[in-house]
Point group: C2
Chain length 112, copies 2
DNA sequence: AATCGCTATATTTGCACAGACATAACGATT
DNA sequence: AATCGTTATGTCTGTGCAAATATAGCGATT
């Protein structure tokens, strides 16, 4: 029949969004490039948008997700904390599990 | 800790959205009021938006989801087909299951 | 102290999308 | 054939949000 169930999940903390797919993409890009500006370029989003997202992430999280260095050698940079890495990993895992779960639920529709 | 996982699911058919939360709300309102225009009013959305949504639903579905009567006694009206009612019920069920599933997954984050 | 590339933030500009508005078409009822 | 309350569409407007632009601040390195 070819119906498909799609989903989008996100984690909130006090009604603020902590993590969603876009934010996770950004965090991964920071991990790969070592800087927020390079991460923004690699995702084709403006630096400003990337900064706003990251700022929101760090303000919503219980512990810091990234460490941002201003100035200094190379001008600075950003990197994930251990907590940030764990959060990203957990989000990916939960997201995949959710997809698998919903695929199973499809049969309830296909036999209508 | 009080992180929460939220989700939004929708059903697609050939890359077209068939059902999401908003569309299901609209279908339920049609079922209750017997007309698209009354349903739109009860949801505080414009008639046009409601019509576009419903049109998209019926174009995406494999079988008709509503029967729309133009003209005639009372000017016409709209009502759900049996297939439409089943779809709405299945969507609600899957959505609830998804919430429950994600609540269970929360523990993976809480112990970080 | 001058440079560099980054983070941090305000201000302005543009555009997509939602909403308001207008109108046609329809068919049972009178 | 006139009326009525719908469904069915097109058009126009404006506004909120995203993107572009501009600029300040930072600190290691030279």
């Amino acid at each position: 029949m070819s119906y498909r169930i799609k989903s989008r999940i996100w984690i909130e903390s006090d009604n603020n969004v902590l993590l969603g797919e876009g934010r996770v993409h950004l965090l991964k890009a920071i991990q790969e490039t070592g800087s927020l500006s390079k991460a923004a370029k690699s995702l084709n989003i403006s630096y400003k948008k990337a900064w706003q997202l990251l700022d929101s992430v760090n303000k919503s999280a219980k512990k810091p997700v990234t460490i941002n260095n201003i100035g200094g050698k190379g001008g600075g940079g950003a990197e994930l904390t251990d907590y940030g890495k764990l959060l990203v990993k957990a989000f990916d895992e939960i997201n995949k599990n959710c997809w698998a779960f919903l695929d199973k639920q499809l049969e309830k529709i296909e036999l209508l």
